[in-house]
């Protein structure tokens, strides 16, 4: 059984008589430890699909099943608790709570789970080490560069050891060098920790590191299913 199963999902927005249908019977499976990228034109419904899998939005119809849990059927409260334990979410910008330090930001998801204080400390330290920012634990978001802020955001997404980490254009706001760092980091987390990733991006280079690249077009999902190394070579040419 796949880790993530999206089955015939439809998402519609109604504005009076006008109906927008960014997702039209979309189905998708993501396996454990997979790294999947999702591309598509602006407004094609990428974020919408990602948010459904992350459990912060609900489909008009269809089913989303993660690790055997039909999350579309959970109550609002249950869903929140489920997210805390099983989903890591990396935003394009402004991931962090400005009044909290890097350490406190990364610790947030753990506060919602039954971890002791010392266990929280250990996990946060490990997560910050994984993103190479152990020395910035006491810094506030305004004292960090855009790339560093993004890495703290990634540390927070992985700290509770979630089933899936979703990222919506995680490098969309970064320069080439920072983008490179982030991509390396994501790849390393995927290979070393086995973290499952779904990354929405406009950037072919970011998509290039994925094992599987998907594309949304006119509400339908095109599964290109090409291996990562082939994609990288094509991108390099």
């Amino acid at each position: 059984m796949a880790l993530v199963e999206v089955i015939d999902v439809v998402k519609e927005y109604r504005k009076g008589e006008h109906v927008i249908r960014p997702l039209d019977e979309v189905s998708l499976e993501i396996e454990r430890h997979e790294f999947v990228s999702l591309m598509g034109a602006s407004g094609s419904g990428k974020s919408t699909l990602l948010n459904l899998i992350a459990g912060i939005d609900r489909p008009t119809s269809g089913e989303v099943i993660v690790n055997g849990t039909a999350i579309t059927r959970l109550s609002r409260r249950q869903l929140a608790h489920w997210r805390a334990a099983h989903i890591g979410y990396v935003f394009q910008t402004h991931n962090l709570i400005p009044v909290l330090t890097a350490f406190e930001n990364v610790e947030l998801p753990l506060l919602l789970l039954p971890f002791s204080r010392s266990e929280r400390r250990k996990r946060v330290a490990l997560a910050l080490e994984a993103v190479g920012l152990s020395d910035r634990a006491d810094h506030y978001p305004r004292q960090l560069s855009g790339g560093q802020e993004q890495r703290v955001g990634i540390a927070r997404a992985i700290v509770a050891d979630p089933l899936v980490v979703v990222a919506d254009e995680p490098t969309g706001d970064l320069d080439a060098e920072s983008t490179e760092q982030i991509l390396e980091l994501l790849m390393r987390l995927n290979t070393e920790l086995g973290t499952t990733f779904l990354v929405v991006t406009h950037d072919p280079r970011t998509a290039g590191i994925a094992q599987r690249r998907l594309r949304l077009e006119k509400g339908k999902l095109l599964d290109r299913d090409c291996p990562a190394h082939v994609a990288t070579i094509t991108e390099d040419e």
Partner: protein, 378 residues
């Protein structure tokens, strides 16, 4: 609550706004508590006396300085049916009318005092009071406020008295009184009051109707040059402070207005916060905080603002009321302001409740907002 740190840091993050709100809440609750203390003082006056005591005053006179009754009236009154006992009293004060620094001396026959007042001595002795010409028995409240001890001398107008004892009494209004021997206030230099008293206090005998006795007293002096006006003691004193009571009653509305003020102040600050931080709450919810968790976070912020401000205001007001030595007096009746434990508890509870109540609407707004929409719109 594991998120307390976040709540406090958020408030500290907007410290100007937070401090202004806390300040506003503090001022409002200061006023609320202060008004409560003043009202409490007023209430003591009318509630402390039993209905079986009457006060005989000169008719159409309101200031004790101007009420002058022949001391001999006392004998006539004592002989009336239904009268158990009569206490002649001369009231002397340094000022007539409403003032914040009024000292009133109540001159009474020393041997009679204990029959009319339930006093117990905290310091000094009754025999000293009964023998010494310029002795003064000082109520505990006055003694505390003016830092008077046994043996101290103090001056009121042209008179200087010596503290012979400090007493406590079951009636708080009595504890705010100073007694001296009646003769001292009659024979003093320039007093011109030999054989004259300000009023009589009449104890009505068991089974007699106080209203009928009052009428009989006034009736028996109807034909005399100096006529009398007799009322129940509580009524008399309430009447004396009537204008004040009206003012204080108005001030009571001020107290309630203050509560509404804090409510809107804390509420609008919290509302601003919620609107500013719509994205932040969406991020927190994405991380896994449930809608009711967000509700509680917002509520906690407003409760801290209201509670902290309230605690400051109530404490300040209690300090001023209890140690500021404030009392207000008019027409010889003095009202002591004090903040009782009950009043402080009420103030703090009101502050907490306001803080929570002020947060409800903003918290509800934050909790029901759609995550995706909030993320999208910023």
């Amino acid at each position: 609550m594991r998120f307390l740190r976040y709540v406090l840091k958020s408030l500290w993050g907007h410290r100007t706004r937070s401090l202004l709100t806390v300040g506003g809440a503090a001022v409002s609750l200061f006023v609320f508590t202060f008004v409560g203390g003043v009202r409490g003082g007023m209430d003591q006056i009318s509630s402390g006396w039993n209905e079986r005591s009457l006060i005989v005053f000169q008719i159409h006179r309101f200031c004790p300085e101007t009420s002058r009754l022949p001391e001999a009236y006392g004998k006539t009154i004592a002989a009336l049916p239904g009268v158990a006992d009569v206490l002649p009293m001369r009231v002397f004060m340094n000022n007539c009318g409403a003032t914040l620094d009024l000292i009133v001396l109540h001159g009474v026959p020393p041997q009679k005092l204990r029959a009319f007042r339930d006093l117990s001595l905290v310091a000094g002795s009754f025999s000293e009071f009964e023998t010494r010409r310029d002795a003064a028995l000082v109520g505990r409240t006055v003694a505390d406020r003016r830092r008077l001890r046994v043996g101290d001398k103090f001056t009121v107008g042209e008179l200087t008295v010596t503290v012979a004892g400090v007493f406590s009494a079951s009636n708080p209004a009595v504890e705010n009184t100073i007694y001296t021997p009646l003769e001292f206030l009659q024979y003093g230099r320039g007093l011109n009051s030999v054989g004259m008293v300000t009023q009589f206090e009449v104890k009505v005998a068991d089974g007699a109707d106080p209203v009928a006795v009052a009428r009989a007293i006034d009736e028996s002096f109807r034909a005399d040059r100096v006529q009398t006006d007799t009322r129940a003691k509580g009524v008399f004193e309430s009447f004396a402070v009537g204008d004040l009571a009206e003012l204080v009653g108005l001030a009571g509305y001020l107290g309630y207005a203050c509560i509404v003020l804090v409510l809107t102040l804390v509420s609008s600050t919290t509302m601003m916060t919620v609107q500013d931080r719509a994205r932040e709450y969406a991020v927190l919810q994405t991380i896994g905080i449930s809608w009711d968790g967000v509700f509680r976070l917002v509520l906690a912020e407003s409760a801290v603002l209201g509670g902290l401000g309230g605690a400051l205001g109530v404490t300040a007001a209690a300090a001023v009321l209890n140690w500021g030595g404030l009392s207000l007096a008019t027409e010889g009746v003095s009202v002591a302001f004090s903040a009782s434990g009950g009043l402080v508890a009420i103030g703090l509870t009101v502050a907490m409740v306001i803080g929570l109540a002020a947060g409800v609407f903003p918290a509800w707004q934050a909790a029901r907002s759609d995550i995706v929409e909030a993320l999208r719109s910023s």
